[in-house]
Symmetry: C2
């Protein structure tokens, strides 16, 4: 059976075991992800990520990671980091890619390479307040995968479709999420 020799580096058995455990323990499935942002100067900020809550207790990433965001020089900023909207594309690409690897492992498909390009179109008349008919965010995002794997084109397309179906970031971008902003 091909499945036993396939190794995409994903521990699918652990995920299947976790699924069985969480079926009987829905409280443990409630996660809270967090980030802390500090304004630096102008449009430049630094956001740190380390702790989160899940499986009923506080958890930590192995290291704290810090992310710089800024606006580019053509917006009269210093370009000391990528823009906030580009972080959305990083999240989308990485979520779908992790999903492709996990689904491939589960289906016994050996991956050789998975590359993707993400393009998000935005009309900046929205954020500049020029035209109230133009939205602030992306109008349209396109993700294009190039996958080299031990499978037919049809099976590779099915992998990507299943990853999309289970992707948290794809859901966040394509469907509304309730966001509350407060000042304390």
């Amino acid at each position: 059976m091909a499945m036993t020799t396939v190794n995409n580096g994903v521990n699918v058995q652990a995920l299947l075991d976790a699924r069985e455990v969480l079926k009987g323990a829905p409280e443990a499935a409630k996660f809270t992800w967090r980030a802390s942002c500090k304004w630096q100067n102008g449009t430049h900020s630094k956001t740190k990520v380390q702790g989160f809550f899940g499986l009923g207790q506080e958890q930590q990433h192995k290291t704290e990671t810090s992310f710089e965001a800024d606006h580019p020089e053509i917006f009269a900023s210093e370009d000391l980091g990528i823009t906030p909207v580009e972080y959305m594309l990083v999240g989308l690409a990485s979520c779908l890619t992790a999903g492709v690897a996990a689904v491939a492992q589960n289906r016994g498909i050996q991956l050789r390479s998975v590359e993707s390009k993400v393009e998000g179109k935005m009309d900046i008349r929205g954020i500049l307040g020029i035209d109230s008919e133009v939205r602030n965010g992306y109008d349209d995002i396109k993700v294009t995968f190039h996958i080299d794997a031990d499978a037919s084109k049809k099976d590779i397309e099915a992998l990507v479709a299943q990853s999309q179906k289970r992707s948290a970031v794809y859901d966040v971008i394509t469907n509304p999420v309730n966001v509350t902003v407060q000042v304390v």
Copy 2:
């Protein structure tokens, strides 16, 4: 007049000038932001960001930036980067923060510090496929700002509200965006 001595590091005049120019040149306001992702192993990927299109031509960030994403050890992964869903929080916090600085500059309010915490709640029974009634993405995101500025609580709240109103990432998360995924 207080406005002349306020310096939050945002060149508001340049943005107001850009607004005037783009009113008469809507084609130049059409931007495309991009990212390129490469699967590493397991759920680990690297996404690079550098080029984008805007003001009618190809543009480049000063440097190419690379972002690691992975799943944490409690999901039997190696935690070689933050999770894709945490990138969403980085984008949201940094977008609202840049907006606060820009709006404050425009309103003549001197900022001393702007810090925020973002928390996103997610029930992972969605992504694990345990319960089809549970969504894959965030149920709810809360952003909490602590702002020290030369302004009343009411004026600070109005700053944040205006930033939210013009935030591209807030729009992407709270409203649906069309996403197309293809394999070539």
